[in-house]
């Protein structure tokens, strides 16, 4: 099945810094979503972005489907950005389609 790799696995930032999280996938996809898992364990959907670029406040994401990667940009990071960021993808092949998650990037933002 499709493989999803996220990097870096861990990231420590000072408040106000910018960061880029990467998601590589092994096959063509028709769905890619970025999630933030907060300290309470909730999965917060950030972007649905199978291709192209989207922005939402301090966050933006770009997916280059032909090169099989997606990037999540966090600008002017805040302590509330801490948590785990997951990338999840759906391939074109398969039956009833399920999202496959990467292992996540654990982000800690310090004041």
């Amino acid at each position: 099945g499709i493989q999803v790799e996220q990097s870096p696995p861990d990231l420590i930032l000072q408040e106000g810094a910018n960061s880029t999280l990467r998601c590589n996938f092994s096959d063509s996809v028709n769905n890619l979503q970025w999630f933030h898992q907060n300290p309470w364990g909730q999965l917060i959907n950030l972007f649905y972005i199978p291709s192209g670029t989207k922005q939402n406040g301090r966050l933006s994401a770009t997916t280059v489907a032909t090169e099989r990667y997606s990037l999540l940009y966090i600008s002017s990071s805040q302590t509330t950005d801490s948590g785990v960021y997951f990338c999840a993808v759906n391939g074109f092949s398969g039956g009833y389609n399920k999202l496959i998650f990467g292992a996540g990037t654990r982000l800690a933002v310090h004041p």
Partner: protein, 115 residues
């Protein structure tokens, strides 16, 4: 944005007991999923469900697990005889269409602790 609702948010049970985790998918959605996340690990697919039957299940979803849509609005996951290793966060998700090129909406999860 519409929401998938899960109850309870936390459940504590004794090993060997049956538990039922409940989900109310978004009202016009037709495809339903359960995912599981053991503490510190990635989110794993358990099962998908459409038209009152299982569409796909993972190797994790063994005979101890079952799913049901009992009344047209709720979607439940039952674990027949819980084991310590069933302790995890369980997420329900739903979407409107079969095709995968559509956002999957997740609930806020049920944290299951098996003692």
């Amino acid at each position: 944005e519409p929401e998938v609702t899960q109850t309870p948010s936390h459940q504590v049970t004794q090993m060997g007991q049956e538990v039922i985790l409940r989900c109310v998918p978004i009202s016009n959605h037709l495809y339903f999923y359960w995912y599981r996340q053991i503490l510190g690990q990635k989110v794993e697919f358990l099962v998908s469900f459409y038209n009152n039957e299982i569409s796909e299940k993972s190797e994790i979803f063994d005979d101890q697990f079952s799913v049901e849509r009992p009344d047209g609005s709720n979607f439940t996951l039952k674990i027949r005889s819980t084991k310590l290793e069933d302790s995890a966060m369980y997420f329900c998700a739903s979407r409107t269409r079969r095709t995968s090129n559509e956002k999957l909406f997740f609930g806020s999860g049920t944290q299951l602790s098996v003692l």
